[in-house]
Every structure is written in structure tokens, then in C-alpha cells.
């Protein structure tokens, strides 16, 4: 019974109990808090499973930003004390429990059949082509080179979330009056966060890290500053705000088209998203930078976007 075994069992059980607690908690506030804790423990679990990038991303995005979003939603929830939701009859709750238990059982049963040694997976192929992908870190290579199209679509999804949020933006609760300790603390913390963010971005080329994690950190910094009124309102009307938000996707598309133009042999757009070898590294860095800024600003607007800010 090596240390790992005990560590894994405890971690698993903690995760399960936290999840169950989130669902079963009476008050919503408790559920939200437990969920944030769950996010952090999940980051630890992923670190344990050797996914460093994911742990970082989960901590920053999963726990941090989602938590912030949930808290602001919680505040509204409390304010608009809506009528007590009709308690669904016990009969249907038993049915629901039964259904989910059976499905989970089936899932576990079928997961039991998964081959522990997969006879084939894409990692060796990726490693083999890592050399001419322009980065050393396989995850960044997959994200920004091998499956660059997925990442572009993902950035569009993020942009879309912002557009959607803009459409339905509702008046923000008035933030509490200035709290001196918080503002002092944010004055010192923000530059540190920005520094770490750019470090994570730079390291992404060679080791776990990258645009998303850095963007999340930047957003965290911006949110803290914005909450303490140390950052001017970021109106959507401003050209630069729109430009930065669009910069992620724009960079990607421009790079793609550029790569296609550079090698237009058989047909104009055939080499879309195919970074020429000598240009791969700078291109990826350029895209990463733009993506980080875009993600940072988008997430900030999503968390603390004011309706008059957001509406054009």
C-alpha cells in the first residue's frame, strides 16, 4: 500500500463528496463555495495525473473565473428572491436518482473494458512531428499547429460568449464602496499577476503553459483592479477594446491566410493554417500573444462587464 494508493483514494473520495455536497446543499451559497473548492481539488487531481497545463488552466479558469462568475450570479440570485421553486414530488426525485445511478453504473461498467495499454494513440505521432512544429511542448504544438483549426474555433466560441453576454447584459450590482485594504492589496498583486502571466505565456513554448492560462491570469488581475475601481471602465465603444477582443481571432486568421499566400502552389487556400517551417515559431508566438490579450480582456468583460460598457 504505497503512499500513492492512499493519496489517490482520499483524493477521489474527497472529489466525490464535494460534488455530492454541491448538488445536495440546501442553500445555493454553500453549493457555490463547495464548487469552487471542488475546482481547486480537481486541479490537484489533474496535476497528480501528470497534466500540468490542465492543472494550471483548471485552477485559473475553472476555479478562479467560474467561481467569480458564480458569485456574481449568486448575488443576483439572493437579490431577486424568486418564489420558492415548487418542491418536485418525491416520486420523481427517486426516479431521477435511480436513472443517474444506473447511467453511472453503465458508464463505470463500460469504462472497465477500456484497455489500460491503448494499442494506438496519437502521442507518438505528435512527438515525431514535434521537431518541425515550431515549439518543444507537445500540448502547445497540438493546440497551435497540428489542430490549429480547433483552437481558432475555440477562440470564436469565447468571442461568441462575449457577444451573447453583451446581448443580454443586465445592470451590474453597484460594487461595494472602496475598501482600502483591498485596493492596497490589489495594487501590489496586479503587477505580480501580469508578470506571472507573461512568464507563463513565454514558458508555454517549451513547457506547460500557454495562451489560455496566461489570459486567465491577466483577466484575474484586471478583474481585481476593476473591482477596486483602479481600472477605467472598458467600454465596448472604444476602438481599442474591440480591437483587442478581436485580436486573438484576427491574428489567427491573418496568420492562416499569410501561410496560405506564401505557399500558393497547387491552389490558393490549400495551405491554410500550415505554418511554413522557418516561420512557425515566431508565428506561434505572435498568435499566443494576441490570444492571451484577447482572452484576458474577453474574460474580464465577461466577469465585470457593465451593460452600458458592453452595449455599443
Amino acid at each position: 500500500m504505497s503512499g500513492d494508493f492512499w493519496f489517490d483514494t482520499i483524493l477521489g473520495l474527497v472529489l466525490l463528496t464535494l460534488a455530492l455536497a454541491t448538488v445536495r446543499a440546501q442553500q445555493l451559497a454553500a453549493a457555490v463555495m463547495i464548487f469552487v473548492v471542488f475546482g481547486l481539488i480537481l486541479a490537484v487531481a489533474w496535476a497528480r495525473l501528470g497534466a500540468a497545463d490542465l492543472a494550471l488552466a483548471e485552477a485559473a479558469i475553472g476555479a478562479g473565473l467560474t467561481g467569480a462568475l458564480l458569485f456574481s450570479a449568486l448575488a443576483r440570485q439572493a437579490k431577486a428572491e424568486s418564489a420558492p421553486v415548487s418542491k418536485s414530488s418525491s416520486r420523481s426525485s427517486w426516479l431521477v436518482l435511480l436513472l443517474s445511478l444506473m447511467l453511472t453504473g453503465i458508464l463505470c461498467f463500460s469504462l472497465w473494458w477500456v484497455p489500460l495499454q491503448p494499442e494506438h494513440h496519437l502521442m507518438p505521432l505528435a512527438l515525431e512531428h514535434l521537431a518541425n512544429s515550431g515549439t518543444e511542448h507537445p500540448v502547445t504544438a497540438v493546440l497551435l499547429n497540428f489542430r490549429a483549426w480547433d483552437t481558432l474555433l475555440e477562440l470564436i466560441v469565447l468571442l461568441l460568449a462575449l457577444m451573447g453576454a453583451r446581448l443580454v447584459s443586465s445592470p451590474m450590482l453597484q460594487t461595494p464602496q472602496r475598501w482600502p485594504l483591498a485596493s492596497q492589496w490589489s495594487k501590489r498583486l496586479a503587477p505580480l499577476l501580469i508578470l506571472v502571466a507573461f512568464f507563463v505565456l513565454w514558458r508555454g513554448a517549451t513547457a506547460p503553459g500557454g495562451a489560455f492560462q496566461a489570459g486567465a491570469l491577466l483577466a484575474a488581475a484586471a478583474v481585481v483592479l476593476r473591482l477596486n475601481h483602479q481600472l477605467p471602465p472598458l467600454h465596448w465603444r472604444y476602438g481599442w477594446v474591440r480591437l483587442i477582443v478581436l485580436s486573438g481571432v484576427l491574428a489567427f486568421v491573418v496568420a492562416g491566410i499569410a501561410s496560405a499566400l506564401l505557399q500558393y502552389q497547387p491552389a490558393l487556400l490549400i495551405h491554410w493554417l500550415e505554418w511554413p517551417l522557418w516561420l512557425a515559431k515566431p508565428l506561434i508566438l505572435f498568435i499566443e500573444l494576441c490570444a492571451t490579450l484577447a482572452i484576458g480582456l474577453t474574460l474580464t468583460l465577461l466577469v465585470v462587464g457593465e451593460p452600458e460598457e458592453l452595449s455599443s
Binding site: 477521489g12 448538488v23 447511467l103 469565447l158 443586465s170
Partner: protein, 90 residues
């Protein structure tokens, strides 16, 4: 290697709980949280699958990362919609 299976089952468990929460949770916010739990469950399964090979499967990690960003943007949009709904409700 049994830890991989353990983590797979934990992932399945979280997914199940998330589904249960999604079906049962009376308030909409709780359903959104349950959705995130389901997402977390799925990502846990993927990460556990990625951890089976010695150099963990980077491709799967990239997929999970994309999934994560998609999940968070969807949640943000859902919460914005919820906020508008609660604001609109008298």
C-alpha cells in the same frame, strides 16, 4: 495501473452526480453548476485516459484544454442569460 481505473470511475461518478444535479436541481443556478460538474467529470475521464501512457497523451490534454475554454465560455453566457432572466422577473 489500477489508479487509472480508479480515476476513471471517479470521473464517471462526478459525471453521474452532475447529471443527477442537472435533473433534480430546482434552481437554474444549481443546474448550471451541475453542468459544470458533468464537464469536470468528462474532463476527468479524458485526463485519466491520457495518463495511461508513459509520456502522458499531449493531444488529449490539448482537447481537454479546448473543452475547458468552451465550458467556461458557455457557463459565462449561461450566467449572463440567468442574470437577465432574474433581472427581468419582477
Amino acid at each position: 495501473m489500477s489508479s487509472i481505473v480508479w480515476y476513471l470511475w471517479i470521473g464517471a461518478g462526478i459525471w453521474g452526480i452532475g447529471l443527477y444535479g442537472f435533473m433534480r436541481g430546482p434552481e437554474l443556478l444549481r443546474r448550471i453548476i451541475s453542468l459544470n460538474l458533468m464537464g469536470a467529470g468528462v474532463f476527468m475521464v479524458m485526463v485519466a485516459l491520457a495518463a495511461r501512457t508513459e509520456p502522458t497523451d499531449g493531444v488529449l490534454h490539448a482537447l481537454v484544454l479546448t473543452g475547458l475554454v468552451v465550458a467556461v465560455s458557455a457557463t459565462a453566457f449561461a450566467l449572463a442569460l440567468l442574470a437577465r432572466l432574474l433581472a427581468a422577473k419582477p
